[in-house]
Amino acid sequence: MKGILISIPLIYLAIYWIGAFFIVYHLIKYGITSWPKKIATVFLAGSIVLSILSFMLFTQINWQSIFTGIQNNTPKANLK
């Protein structure tokens, strides 16, 4: 279960970084003047920060407390 949960953000980040690669690749290959290279650098830096942050926040999710919270707040079925 834990392995599946960990793999979800990893797959998501892998897809993200494939897209990020295409952005950086296009900006460097087809961009003219230094402006696209600067954009690529800013994008790369922001992507790294947000990816790390996203992964860290995912690892800090306490799934047990979430399940407990859901169970405690779910109305019990009336079995009368």
């Binding site: 952005i23 296009h26 290959k29 947000l50």
Partner: protein, 233 residues
């Protein structure tokens, strides 16, 4: 009237020839991009609104950690979307060099159309500014009519289209002047252009071997003084 000073840059782009310099790199006007950026800015505030509305639910169900994760992940997607938009905007450009005009259209990661037009193929350059916002921000369409068939080049939503048109005309003069220099050297034919209130005006083209028998005489249909086009200001 003073001629336009052409600032030639040795910027590199894919397919650039060694003998040409970049004069203009044109993109759509920033206003067209700002609309999309504004949309991203609005979306930035969406999780904050969601947090305010669903705060009690998030606390009761212990969803703070998962909400934080989705918040950052959502920003990661927005970050990608913002730069995807900027990338498409940046790569959708027109490059004007001393030899040709290159029209690059980026319609996605895997959809790139590039067309080019030699300056000597240009017959006519015009521009139009239509609408309230384009008039206010001074952007519009520059239309380039080529000599071949009925093909046209369009620079869409470019800033200061009049200046762009003037620069292209100036480049055409330089290009023709280079031809004149070459042809004069060969002694075959002559092309002369003069400026009329800052706008280059073509003169009649007289073969050097025709006219009054004097190969150095050129007839100016506007009876204006010709100027040396070889001067690179």
């Amino acid at each position: 009237m003073a001629r336009i000073i052409l600032k030639k840059q040795n910027w590199f782009f894919e397919g650039k020839e060694d003998t040409e310099d970049v004069v203009l790199v044109l993109h759509r006007h920033w206003f067209t991009l700002s609309v999309q950026i504004l949309l991203v800015i609005i979306y930035i505030f969406l999780p904050i609104v969601l947090l305010v509305v669903l705060s009690s639910f998030i606390v009761n169900y212990n969803l703070i950690s998962i909400f934080s994760f989705f918040w950052v992940t959502y920003y990661l997607v927005l970050w990608f979307w913002l730069f995807y938009t900027i990338t498409m905007y940046t790569l959708d450009n027109w490059i004007v060099t001393t030899k040709r005009i290159i029209d690059s259209l980026q319609g996605g990661f895997f959809n790139r159309n590039v067309a080019e037009l030699q300056l000597d193929k240009i017959q006519d350059v015009s521009y139009r500014i239509e609408g309230l916002i384009p008039t206010f921000f001074n952007y519009g369409v520059v239309e380039i009519q080529t000599a071949g068939k009925d093909h046209k080049f369009f620079f869409e939503q470019v800033s200061d289209p009049q200046r762009v048109k003037d620069i292209i005309m100036e480049l055409i003069i330089e290009e023709e002047n280079a031809d004149v220099g070459l042809n004069n050297h060969r002694g075959t034919e002559n092309h002369v252009l003069v400026e009329d209130n800052g706008v280059p005006t073509p003169l009649t083209v007289i073969d050097a071997d025709e006219g009054n028998g004097n190969s150095n005489e050129f007839k100016n249909i506007h009876e204006k003084e010709s100027f040396d086009l070889n001067t690179n200001q």
